[in-house]
């Protein structure tokens, strides 16, 4: 199987060429040629023995917040500079078993806190479609790695849309599985009740394959679900898209506000027509609590983050501020120097909403409203709707540096956070371009209904054909 080794070698070369921003895009933060070639050789010999490997020799890139043994895992933060995890994430172990070879770690917003990959300690990633623009975030490096052709599959992570939003901005497919579908063991926690490893990919099929390979109960994650992994679908028999007869797709009014960019709306209309043409029944629905999702999200996620990031204290790993006279000085200096501005902002916000006297008004209230948002979905899906279709983002990729107000940046997650709050699966796929920039359309499904979601996404992808990229 010289072939596999060649493929990996070329992929590592592409990644290494782009490392440290040498390509000007700043997509890749780490490579390890020796380890990747060794892994490729192992895959080649396993494949030779007849092991089942759906991704035999397929190079993958991995977001820098997922623990890997042979490359650093730094969450694009100075506080983890040089940190190499002594254990590997369950998702990575499973992909390796399936034949995938990790060739690079990708850039991201620091600790996944951001929507543009601009908060990275490595500096921002540029969008391969238009280097003046942000690739989205926080998994901007992973979406860009696929868009730039370094790999066809890259792992990202979602807390509020961090895979789907950059996938939309870079014109690739982005998947967030059902909460609990993929083990979080080895994913550096941001908002534990929202976090889920996801996939950026060139095609729906590749995204599906990678998602299912990572899926399934993990005894090391008490929140991973004991739900059977769906069988891999056979490769399509023809180029003709699958029928969507019998599938009801809902269009939630709240995701198509009057203020929506008319051209984004037009691309969505095109996608809806394509689904209708494939036999889908299209209905208008309402998710009345949608507008509350951003405030809810920006209470719950920072609250959990403020606690999750307490472990970065300079005691057991990572760099420690030198010459501190006492413990308190060491803590403060290590954390203030180690975390960037956005991370510190969210830690402060999260600490505040959990603090004495404010917990009920903020955190408890936000959890209750989160339940209302979840029930919106439950009732729509309970009324005979199989899937929901929405734009992934209100606008195409914005220019780097264009969004300076934190809350305005938070609003770019407005159509994606709801799936994280409700724990349901979602996929974003390219549905065309506006002023040369990719536009993403999003399909949301009920808990653990990834099979229907992937089927419809692939049908839509196939129906739109090259139109999705024009």
């Amino acid at each position: 199987m010289r072939n596999i080794i060649d493929i990996i070698n070329e992929s590592v070369q592409r990644a290494a060429d782009m490392q440290y921003g040498r390509d000007g895009l700043n997509i890749i933060v780490a490579t390890n040629r020796g380890a990747s070639i060794a892994a490729a050789e192992e895959v080649a010999s396993g494949y030779g023995r007849g092991d089942t490997m759906p991704l035999a020799g397929v190079p993958i890139a991995v977001k820098d917040n997922i623990a890997t043994l042979d490359m650093p895992t730094t969450c694009a933060s100075r506080i983890l500079a040089g940190y190499i995890s002594p254990y590997e994430a369950t998702a990575i172990t499973r992909l390796r078993k399936g034949g995938a070879v990790v060739v690079a770690k990708t850039n991201m917003d620091e600790f996944a806190m951001g929507s543009s990959t601009e908060t990275s300690a490595y500096g921002p990633t540029r969008n391969p479609v238009d280097p003046e623009r942000a690739p989205g975030g926080s998994s901007g490096g992973s979406a860009a790695a696929v868009a730039a052709g370094i790999v066809n599959i890259a792992l990202g992570s979602e807390t509020g849309g961090s895979v789907r939003q950059p996938a939309a901005f870079c014109g690739v497919v982005g998947v967030k599985p059902t909460y609990g579908r993929v083990s979080r063991f080895g994913l550096v926690a941001f908002g534990s009740s929202l976090d889920q490893i996801g996939v950026c990919a060139k095609s729906v099929r590749e995204a599906e394959l990678a998602t299912y390979l990572m899926s399934g109960l993990d005894p090391l994650d008490a929140t991973s679900a004991d739900v059977a992994v769906p069988p891999m679908r056979d490769a399509a028999q023809s180029d003709k898209p699958a029928s969507l007869k019998g599938v009801t797709v809902g269009l939630p009014a709240e995701y198509f506000p009057d203020s929506l960019d008319p051209e984004v709306r037009a691309r969505c209309d095109g996608a809806v027509e394509a689904m209708r043409a494939l036999g889908a029944t299209i209905v208008n629905v309402s998710l009345p609590h949608t507008a509350l999702a951003i405030p809810v999200y920006y209470i719950i996620a920072p609250a959990e983050a403020s606690s999750n990031l307490a472990r970065f204290d300079g005691v057991r790993y990572g760099p420690r501020a030198a010459n501190a006279a006492d413990l308190r000085t060491m803590y403060d200096a290590t954390r203030s120097k180690g975390f960037g501005a956005e991370v510190q902002r969210r830690i402060l916000l999260g600490t505040y909403v959990l603090s004495h006297g404010y917990y009920d008004a903020y955190y408890r209230k936000a959890q209750a409203v989160r339940e209302l948002i979840s029930r919106d979905f439950t009732s729509v899906f309970g009324s005979g709707v199989d899937l929901l279709f929405t734009p992934t983002t209100p606008t195409p990729a914005f220019k780097l540096g264009a969004v300076t107000d934190p809350y305005e940046m938070y609003m770019s997650d407005i159509f994606t956070v709801t799936a994280n709050l409700a724990g349901i699966p979602a996929i974003s796929l390219p549905i065309g371009r506006v002023r040369g920039l990719p536009v993403g359309g999003q399909l949301l499904a009920k808990h653990f209904d990834e099979p229907r979601m992937f089927l419809a996404a692939e049908a839509l992808e196939s129906a739109l054909g090259q139109g999705a990229h024009q």
């Binding site: 005691v315 006492d326 803590y331 916000l349 209230k365 339940e371 209302l372």
Partner: protein, 99 residues
Amino acid sequence: MPVSETDVRKIADLARLSLADTDLPAITEQMNNILAHMDVLTRVDTGSMEAGDAATESGMRVRDDRVAPIPMNTTAPLLAPDSRDGFILVPRLATHEGI
């Protein structure tokens, strides 16, 4: 519910972040801008609802009481920035100096 600079200082203290005095006004203003958007939640009627009630019906899975630590490919204390005789070392709490 706006926060004051004193509040922000106290929160930073709890979070072990040291804020420069010069940054404090800007950070306080940013936090208040963000928190202002959260106030909409206070007007939502949520009754006695608590989150996740339905999701937790089955409860959590537990593990058997077996000694089988997750393997690590380096010995743990080596990760620590400072260690001796197997102990992880940190500067002492100011209140413990002089013991």
